[in-house]
């Protein structure tokens, strides 16, 4: 077992463990903090995959913005954050069954696929992933249209969120 595999296994265990805590913890503030741990684990996975830009964006956007937004939302709906009733509804075992079934099905699909055991080819020498990504995002021959559609979507979400949460007095 190489060092990279050991690092991957540790990161995967931490990520899956904290993800499990996200969906099972009663206190939602703790769940949001466990989500931060999960997102850090996924950022390390991106770094292991040589996707440095994605790792940085994961920390800045997901942890810096989305997780903090969750903590704000939990605080603004404080009355139910630690409500006395159960946190899961009474048919929770159906959800657990579906989740286990989807995990087993996806794993069987992955392990039955011959391409899943291949190792990654080494990066070409002098390969600049971030530069290539920037060119792909702004080149008319590549992905400039999805990129612009994403910015329009963000603007629409900004206006929509302000409109929905606006307190008319």
């Amino acid at each position: 077992m190489t060092a990279e595999q050991i690092v991957f296994l540790i990161v995967a265990l931490v990520t899956l463990g904290s993800a499990f805590m996200v969906v099972t913890t009663r206190n939602l503030i703790h769940a949001a903090l466990w989500l931060v741990a999960t997102l850090f684990g996924v950022a390390v996975v991106y770094a292991l995959l040589n996707a440095g830009f994605l790792a940085v964006v994961q920390v800045v956007v997901y942890i810096g913005a989305i997780a903090i937004l969750f903590i704000f939302a939990v605080m603004l709906t404080r009355k139910d954050a630690r409500d006395s009733g159960p946190q899961t509804h009474k048919n929770w075992w159906v959800g657990a069954l579906l989740a286990v079934a989807s995990y087993l099905g996806l794993s069987a699909l992955v392990l039955g696929w011959s391409g899943s055991s291949k190792a990654a080819a080494g990066l070409p020498s002098g390969f600049d992933a971030v530069g290539q990504l920037g060119e792909a995002l702004t080149s008319p021959n590549a992905y400039v249209l999805p990129f612009e559609v994403a910015s329009v979507l963000l603007l629409a979400a900004l206006v929509g969120a302000v409109y929905v949460a606006f307190n008319r007095k």
Partner: protein
């Protein structure tokens, strides 16, 4: 070197845990937490397929960035809806928010 299947199984696990959270939690904010886990697992898949395929084709990373943008938009609007409903109905339990149920 880590084989591709390890990344895919990690993301399958993350997706299933998120699915469990979405299907079983009663609190609307906790349901959105589960959705975030599922979106993250998709991103792990996209990045892994980019790395194990042709690295000069940036489609995997580009679509991961699109998923980031969609996730940010989804959380902003979703939490705004939750806060708006909390203001009007004083609850965030998904079972109690049934005003559109026939």
């Amino acid at each position: 070197m880590v084989p591709l299947s390890w990344y895919l199984i990690l993301s399958a696990g993350l997706f299933s845990i998120g699915l469990f959270g979405v299907l079983t939690r009663r609190n609307a904010v906790a349901i959105l937490l589960g959705v975030e886990l599922m979106l993250n697992s998709v991103n792990v898949n996209l990045a892994a397929f980019w790395r194990y395929g042709d690295v000069t084709q940036m489609a995997g990373q580009v679509f991961a960035i699109i998923v980031f943008a969609v996730a940010a938009a989804e959380v902003a609007v979703g939490l705004a809806l939750v806060i708006s409903v909390y203001r009007k109905r004083n609850t965030v339990i998904a079972d109690d928010i049934d005003l559109m149920k026939w």
